[in-house]
Symmetry: C2
Subunit: 125 residues, 2 copies
DNA sequence: ATATACTATATGCACAATGCACATAGAGGA
DNA sequence: TCCTCTATGTGCATTGTGCATATAGTATAT
């Protein structure tokens, strides 16, 4: 079914700013620019094909606007200029706050999955 | 901070149609109408104050529009008429599909939380 | 020289999901 | 008559996201 093979991967990450959260974690380890962050995101399940680059850049701009990251232009001998992002203290505390949210989300999901499995076992479904 | 005490509970459920998923599970057990579903939702973490009733009703109407549930009006001796919802076969298979999505979301969240904890332990944060 | 591919960043438009506020109305009690 | 509780819904705006497109520098091959 087209839904299962196409929509499922896209649905998984649809969790209110999940991309932003992943970016904050990646940038906690080391600074980076948009195009290279694309690669780092694969580890988090964002395949190059799924993730549309436009969203990534827009999210990054938004994060700087909100003070979570700061950027500087870096001129390289090879390739176009890169806007390199660095996480700020505000970004770090925001990340810490998001981790609380994620922990709670995880619990909610766990609860729902268990409810469903119980229904299955009870032959109610 | 107002963010921590006010926004966190709202953010937790912001996972693309989480309300719809919960409703599908509740309606799998037994049919029900909007106002009473409000009560059942507390178990899933939707407190009466947080959850705005309008959204609930709109989601239910949308679910019927998409064939996930069907409704009949029930006239009661006490109180206004109730629109009682029942899950359909389409709704059941949709629910099964959502459980796959939730399982994957859970894994993504787990991955991110572990990444963060590793950063903490490594004193990188 | 020219074309193509790769690197790199960004915007315009549209849609779906959600939140806030408000509208409607029946029933029961003070 | 007024208020509260039950019960269902709509209007409007905002946010998050996706798709398509624009822009431009660099490298490599033809």
């Amino acid at each position: 079914m087209s839904k299962s093979i196409k929509c499922l991967p896209n649905k998984i990450h649809k969790m209110d700013r999940f991309l932003e959260i992943c970016l904050l974690i990646i940038l906690s380890k080391e600074s980076g620019y948009g195009y290279i962050l694309l690669g780092h995101l694969e580890e988090y399940g964002f395949s190059q094909e799924e993730l549309n680059v436009g969203s990534l850049y827009r999210v990054l701009r938004g994060m700087e606007k909100n003070g979570l990251v700061s950027s500087v232009w870096e001129t390289s001998s090879q390739g176009p200029d890169k806007r390199v992002y660095e996480i700020t203290e505000v970004g770090k505390s925001e990340l810490s706050w998001w981790m609380e949210v994620l922990a709670e989300r995880r619990e909610k999901i766990k609860f729902v999955l268990e409810k469903y499995n119980y229904l299955k076992e009870s032959k109610l479904l």
